[in-house]
Symmetry: C2
């Protein structure tokens, strides 16, 4: 697939949320909004919309469009002829509520005080991100989504979406998400929040907070990326003495991590990061019902595609299989695909060659008549 | 096996090193020493000594003895009837040079200044730890060790030992060590050093340094322990609100990690930690020769046992197999055993039931005549 197809028709918009916007854990936001981008054109019966729910650090800029020709975070997947084919679909990518790229979050001004929310931003949950995203879909006058797609944190949000809004999406694609975080994922994210939260609460200067964000991001990156890929990319390569880090060594992998940490610290709001990270750890799909199977019974999509990556340690393939089995047991037509990539949790960002055929094949079925509820594809690993 | 067998005869000693003691990367230590403990009795021909080389954080107190009846870090493996049977062997455990439990390290007084070395401690390498340990063995008048055994960092040190001192040990047991660290292990340890090193270099107060050590240790623990074990031990259990951490959540796993981090920060010298961590990342067995296979040709043990753990992410089983294959290719009689334990890298500390039969079986062969060099056991995973 060409790296630079014709850029899709697209726009960037900011959508006001109903005000006050009540939150799952209590409290409400007044005058809140979400930023989104769209690619392709909404058809006359408003039936071709796909909603993308993002990972923790992504903005709504998933693909280039005339108003912003810079490559988006899922550029290789969105556009004419791509997995999310903009000749056919109207693709909507929403910046999560609580994030810092145009949607209301801790860095936004609290209308009650005229100051940024910061630590006073109310407790955010995955459910709030799902509800805000659906409110944007409502605002666009779209009754039923052709599909809802989520990756990582967005995989959780997509599961919340189909449980909270039964019948509002025809299909679900959940990529490297979870019904609930593993203990190990909680431990590693908690540590990141501790580092950032402590620096912020101590009222440390912006340099100390930026350094905390940098360290936290490095821990995060090491939990996303597969060891196999690090080995292949960097091995034991060494480079120019690296005075900044204090590690006492000069391995290339350290430079690379430092660059990623720096970039993140300069672009992401620390409290947004903290809130979104905590929301992931507190998410439990089973809470949508009295039991996990009751919760799954709320889901009314025509079919679901669950994609996991064998080398993902943060959202292990075992968890993806659990999502698929839970949905299938609730009579949702479910397909489970396990991909192998040394990129680990980050595979969905970099392995478009693996994800494209799987997602395209799944979405092709959208034109066929709705199958009777209760038909279940076998759960089988692929590729 | 009983948890409290009769305590072995044992002693704690401090051995002076030859002075000056030249270091691998340049420089020398004057008046340096290493702390060690011994268990069991040296036989009349001094042929039954086993040298244990430890992981990063361990002291020489591997087992209880009359002078210190508190349980040692390898208590379940050392004593009458245990894997390292003190009715038969004279077991020596050395605190690594550069550590802080009686051996000379950054927290020791520099005789040139009368002040602690701190940041001025010369660059430490794994080779130095091996040489200092062998100097202690020399001091005890032991010509040939019955075996040298190393775990984790000590696994690296044991490989350095058999390359530096050919013929001074009859057998080698390397557990979860490496010929050289993986890129991922370097990245995670570099990050720990950056956190500790930055706090120390900034001359931050002892509370800030203790906090840095705590964070670094938590990152370390998460790299040692298997996710499967965390899941089983803690799941999503929550506990009393946990005001200290700043993570915004109260999961049991966070309390547990915090306790471990605290304990380590209170007991381990920060510069010792930093130096030992860097030494691991800089170790390369291949440097003992022009090539890896030349280096392996230096090894003259009668036989080697290499043990790996399938769930170890920090020193993956793949690396253990590499050690075994490298030695076998150099005509060292080598056995490779891969154990499965959810404890991951920490398995050697907690899974005595798995390690005991494997090590006992291997050491039983010590009474048999030396087999001709060149005989190679098949490399096969076990258990």
């Amino acid at each position: 697939m060409s790296a630079h197809p014709p850029t899709a028709v697209g726009t960037a918009r900011v959508i006001p949320l109903p005000s006050p916007f009540a939150l799952e854990a209590g409290g409400a936001l007044v005058g809140a909004k979400v930023a989104l981008e769209t690619y392709g054109e909404l058809d006359s019966d408003r039936s071709n919309a796909i909603l993308i729910l993002t990972g923790l650090s992504a903005s709504a800029h998933a693909a280039a469009h005339p108003g912003d020709p810079s490559p988006g975070w899922w550029e290789a997947m969105i556009g004419p002829g791509r997995a999310l084919d903009t000749r056919r679909f109207f693709v909507i990518c929403v910046n999560s509520l609580g994030s810092c790229f145009g949607s209301t979050g801790p860095a936004s001004t609290d209308p009650a005080t005229g100051q940024p929310y910061g630590t006073s931003f109310p407790e955010l949950r995955i459910e709030d991100i799902a509800r805000a995203s659906q409110a944007a879909v409502d605002h666009l006058g779209i009754g039923t989504l052709a599909a809802v797609i989520g990756t990582s944190l967005g995989g959780m949000t997509s599961l919340a979406h189909v449980a909270l809004f039964p019948g509002r999406a025809r299909r679900l694609i959940s990529i490297s998400g979870a019904l609930a975080a593993t203990t190990g994922a909680i431990a590693t994210r908690s540590l990141q929040r501790e580092i950032v939260g402590s620096a912020l609460r101590a009222g440390q200067g912006s340099e100390a907070v930026a350094n905390a964000m940098k360290i936290a991001r490095k821990i995060g990156v090491l939990s996303y990326i597969g060891g196999e890929l690090l080995e292949k990319k960097f091995g034991r390569m060494q480079s120019e003495p690296f005075s900044g880090s204090g590690s006492g060594t000069d391995f290339e992998v350290e430079h690379w991590l430092d660059h990623l940490g720096d970039k993140f610290a300069r672009s992401f709001d620390p409290w947004s990061y903290w809130q979104l990270s905590r929301a992931m750890d507190l998410f439990e799909f089973a809470r949508f019902g009295d039991t996990l199977s009751h919760a799954a019974r709320r889901v009314q999509v025509e079919s679901a595609l669950i994609i996991g990556v064998t080398q993902d340690l943060l959202f292990p393939a075992l968890q993806q299989r659990e999502i698929a089995e839970t949905l299938a047991a609730a009579d949702v037509t479910t397909q489970y695909v396990e991909l192998s990539s040394p990129a680990g949790h980050d595979a969905f960002l970099t392995e478009s060659g693996l994800f494209t055929p799987v997602m395209r094949h799944f979405l092709e079925g959208l034109d066929t008549p709705r199958p009777p509820r209760g038909h279940t594809d076998p759960l089988r690993p692929q590729a």
